[in-house]
Amino acid sequence: MEVPWLTLLLTVTFAAAVATLAVGRYVSDERTGHVAFALSLAPLLLSIYIWLMEFTADGNALLGADNAALQESYSWFTFAGYEVQYYVGVDGISMPLVVLTTLLASAAIMSAWPSITSHRKEFYSLVLFLEAALIGVFVALDLFLFFVFWEAVLIPMYFLIAVWGGSDRRYAAMKFLIYTNPAFLVVFVSATALIFSADVNTLSIVDLTAAVHDDALTGYFGLTPEQLKLAAFAGLFIGFAVKVPVVPFHTWLPDAHVEAPSPVSVLLAGVLLKMGTYGLLRFNFTVLPEAAAAVAGLVAAVGVVSVIYGALLAMAQTDLKRIVAYSSISSMGYVLLGLAAYTYYSVGGATFQMISHGLISGLMFMVVGVVYHETHHRDVRELSGLWRQTPVAAFIFLAAAFAYMGLPGMSGFAAEAFVFIGSAASTTIPYAPLVTMTAMFGIVLVAGYLLFALQKTLFGELRIGEHQTAADGGSLDVSDVSLAQAVPLFALLAAIVLLGVQPDVVYDVIADGTAGVVDLVTGGDG
């Protein structure tokens, strides 16, 4: 019997969300987190099982009806002559993202145990609901289904920030919601315009891709097919760029991160940002390769600006969360550069960077959360010499920071090296070597501000806020990470090192999923 694995995964995750809420009534407050974590292991293990045992994708999901693995499609309803399907499937791009989602969700839930102390069952339930919606975004192959999941992500995220956030949480949550909604509108209009002008009778993204590639577009709204593609590209790009976020649409991110509780930041930086780059890769760069190649220089320029500008902003911050938030903007710039370059290594590297950055930023926010929970400070000027008293947390912080800097042996280096090697050889970006070189300067800036943060917080004499001890004696009332907190930290660190030493664990499938995208533009000699 064919097992509907993806539907099973989605169902299990939704069920975990509901079950947390239900079981939460019968167990003590402290136990709720444990229950939620145990429940979250189900989708995690299931997704890993699916990847290892059932996943057999061959090529990019959008570039052939049979390419995606584990496809399921059922007619849902027909609207205005278009058949809307429940249509899911995974390929080398989405499978790693699904596992990243389940992994980070479990890690986030575990790291939330000490810090989330009110409305526990609602919190964990929302996190699991968020996880389910995120999985849905990555597995949906029907446009309508994709949009439904896309919007479904916003709802739990809004509440997670607005209810459990910091002092200015309402502003941040509202900003997040208002920013992403018009962005979605632009995406929606652009995608709809494509659908209307293409010769399709379903909302399947695979069919849409085929129709666009076969030049089966009629003009629409007074635009020629070429103009329409460019206009749709622009609309989709702006919409997804907000989510990534790309400069200048980035200002919601630092506020959201600073106000969100750390476990939520983990998912926000780790997975939610990838929705934007995933959308860019799927729609802008796969459905509309001609338009993408035509404006690749511009996209790369935007990427470079994001890298450098984000890094400079990070440098000016003193709040640890803000530093990581701004450096996320910087890291996502590399993804843009890699996608625009349209070579095997650059597009594969950009996708690898999504996974890598998801793990690293997740780890970073978790460790910042630990520091904040223990010291009640996040400002680097208020902290000093933590290494002496919390060596394990400090070690993780150091490792995460170096991973962020792209230290060889960790996944960040592999991702960045792939992107750089690929984009230097790009044929789509004008002056590709020069553009690449400019973007690469980010690796110096990131080292600058992270080393500065490390020096301030971990080294020197022990000091937390006003409390200070002598150089060689005494201790302050802070404790190192507990075992429960350390498990997800070390798990993520292990994953980061594994991907740095042996990137093919993930890059193998990514290369398979992205090669077709590159061939669209280079015709096979990328």
Binding site: Y345, G385, W387, A414, G448, L451
Partner: protein, 663 residues
């Protein structure tokens, strides 16, 4: 001794693998904290000693069996298959150069770890597992770098070495200056590595391979591209080769602390002295020079790149040596001396003196490690005093240190027959010989010759101040030498400082190293592509001049400082001021980082908050305010609404009437 076929490969693989294994064990064990001190020490020393033995086996095997084809790949692993793109692999490449370098690294590492028993364990330092974990990680990474068979792998371990350096400089992390120096070291070398990585990306984009050997090596691909007149990276192939070579040189300048990225090395002396000996004198700093030697065939394709290498080297040799003249801290003197000596190696490479560079690298590794360990011995004896003005009179109290230090000092000063003399002379000889073919080499040659007496002068100044005259502090009066962990490394290295020069004492007709390295092939290569000489003949005039200059400098240094007096500083105030302030370059770089980049980032931040986010907030503010204004229409009085409705209906009726033509 002859090894079974295949066994040699295993030996080569184990050399870097053992320290990595020890690192993993120590890292895992460090959760036990200080209780793991002893096992950590044991694992570190055992693994590195084993690597040393294996390296010696490898070297002996290659030396006694010239028929073994080199270079060969001892092991290869795929980093990524790359999908449709070319794969990226990591391989261990064994050839005479890597075998020699492996022996240097493991030998110095072993001796330094033995010395650490005295310097670290003996002083009851806390955090020893961290120390030994970093040291083994460093040794493993350095060896992997040495055996790298392609540019990407070289970069990979080049950076890991930098990480170890960062951790070890900041070993005493509670000292703010150590934490700051660690940051500076990583950041400055990262700046150099940035260019290196750009070079890697460009090389791969341009030539499609990064390999160091084989039919499709980077060098043959580059050569073929130049011969074919290809256009790569949007420029012609020879420009691209120059570009790649100069970009890689960025990493070299950073790691080997060449001008203008040398500023991190003196600060790096904040680390424990064994670390300075191993990492910041003998091996890591050598990685840059080693990389140029490794990719010599790439540099030799570009006359411009070669000249840049020579100029950077020549200038740095003199520039750093002058600063060493005025330093008071013994480790600072050694640091600037290290920078200067690596300048000689760069000079040699740029001038086509491949053997000279590798030879000097080896000699320098031994005598500089010796000098650092000697300094370490003194520093511990004086309870962590490093100022030479508080030393003096240690000659009788620390005889072993004194005599071995003297051997190292004479080697550094370039006094025959100590090791430095032979290799430094060969470096100058290379520049002199090829200046006939490339007149632009005259300037770096002149700088290199000028640096000879300066080097001898500061070396003997340091030696005189440390060991001669009267004891100038209480600690110096009571100084005592350590036990065998001090004597053994100092003895071995002291002996090497005396004899290692005879490995290639060209004036005596000994050219063992040159022959072993197969340098004549490379000379021929350089002759083809650059018009350099394809062999070097001993120039006795140069020999005599250099030796005379060295003697003059050494004697002057000894005589002037033997009485622990500062005879020069007062007389040349503006000059010494400039030297002591390190030519104002450190300050300028710090100001650039703090007032330039950091302040600039604050400006950007203000722009972001006020303009970009300001615009976003303006949108929401506009919406809110217009809503606020409009809602005042809602009075809550039903009659008003009715009036508006009635009025609107009338207006609409009129409009419809007018537009429809009924009125």
């Amino acid at each position: 001794m002859t090894l079974e076929p295949g066994l040699l490969e295993n030996v080569a693989v184990l050399i870097p693998l053992l320290p990595f294994a020890a690192f993993a064990v120590i890292l895992a064990g460090s959760t036990y904290g200080d209780r793991f001190d002893l096992p950590a020490t044991a694992f570190a020393i055992a693994s590195v000693t084993a690597s040393l033995l294996l390296s010696l086996v490898l070297l002996a095997e290659l030396y006694t069996h010239p028929e073994i084809p080199t270079p060969f790949t001892a092991a290869e692993a795929t980093w990524t298959a790359g999908g449709a793109a070319p794969e990226l692999t990591f391989g261990l490449m064994v050839d005479p150069l890597s075998a020699v370098m492996a022996v240097i690294v493991t030998l110095v590492a072993t001796l330094v770890l033995v010395f650490s028993l005295y310097y670290m364990n003996g002083e009851d330092e806390s955090g020893l597992p961290r120390y030994y974990a970093s040291m083994t990680l460093f040794t493993g990474s350095m060896l992997a770098f040495v055996f790298s068979d392609n540019l990407l792998m070289a970069f990979f371990f080049f950076e890991l070495i930098g990480l170890c350096s960062y951790i070890l400089i900041g070993f005493w992390y509670q000292t703010p200056s150590a934490a700051s120096a660690a940051k500076k070291a990583f950041l400055v070398t990262r700046f150099g590595d940035y260019f290196f990585l750009v070079g890697v990306a460009f090389a791969f984009a341009a030539f499609g391979t990064l390999s160091f050997h084989g039919d499709t090596s980077l060098f043959t691909a580059a050569e073929a591209a130049i011969d074919a007149g290809d256009t790569v990276l949007g420029v012609d192939a020879s420009t691209a080769v120059t570009l790649v070579a100069l970009l890689v040189l960025g990493g070299v300048i950073g790691k080997s602390a060449q001008f203008p990225l040398h500023t991190w090395l003196p600060d790096a002396m904040e680390g424990p002295t064994p670390v300075s000996a191993l990492i910041h004198a003998a091996t890591m700093v050598a990685a840059g020079v080693y990389l140029v030697a490794r990719t010599f065939e790439l540099y030799a394709l570009s006359p411009t790149a070669m000249l840049v290498v020579a100029y950077v080297g020549g200038f740095t040799a003199l520039f750093a040596a002058t600063m060493a003249l005025v330093m008071d801290d013994i480790k600072q003197v050694l640091a600037y001396s290290t920078i200067s000596q690596y300048g000689y190696m760069m000079l040699a490479l740029g001038a086509g003196g491949y053997t000279a560079a590798v030879f000097h690298l080896a000699n320098h590794a031994f005598f500089k490690a010796l000098l650092f360990l000697g300094a370490g011995s003194v520093i511990i004896a004086l309870h962590h005093k490093q100022d030479m003005w508080e030393m003096g009179g240690l000659r009788s109290r620390m005889p072993v240190t004194y005599w071995t230090f003297l051997a190292g000092a004479l080697a550094l000063a370039g006094i025959a027959p100590f090791s430095g003399f032979w290799s430094k002379d060969e470096a100058l000889l290379a520049a002199l010989t090829n200046a006939a073919n490339e007149p632009l080499l005259l300037a770096p040659l002149a700088l290199g010759v000028l640096a000879v007496p300066v080097t001898a002068f500061y070396t003997m100044r340091m030696h005189a101040l440390t060991f001669h005259g009267e004891a100038r502090s209480e600690a110096a009066e009571e100084a005592e030498e350590g036990g065998w962990p001090v004597y053994l490394p100092l003895g071995v290295l002291g002996a090497l400082a005396v004899v290692s020069g005879f490995a290639n004492a060209a004036p005596l007709g000994v050219k063992e190293l040159s022959g072993f390295l197969g340098a004549s092939d490379l000379y021929g290569y350089a002759a083809t592509h650059l018009g350099y000489a394809d062999a070097f003949t001993v120039n006795y005039a140069l020999l005599v001049v250099a030796l005379a200059l060295a003697f003059a400098g050494a004697i002057a240094g000894y005589l002037l400082y033997r009485d622990a007096d500062e005879p020069l500083k007062r007389r040349f105030d503006p000059v010494t001021e400039a030297l002591e302030r390190r030519y104002y370059l450190d300050g300028a770089q710090t100001r650039f980082a703090e007032d330039g980049v950091l302040e600039g980032s604050r400006w950007v931040n203000r722009f972001d908050v006020d303009v970009v986010d300001g615009l976003v907030d303006a949108v929401s503010t506009t919406a809110l305010q217009s809503g606020d204004a409009l809602r005042r229409v809602q009075t809550g009085v039903v009659r008003d609404y009715a009036a508006v409705i009635a009025f609107s209906v009338v207006v609409l009726a009129l409009l419809v009437g007018l537009l429809g033509g009924w009125i």
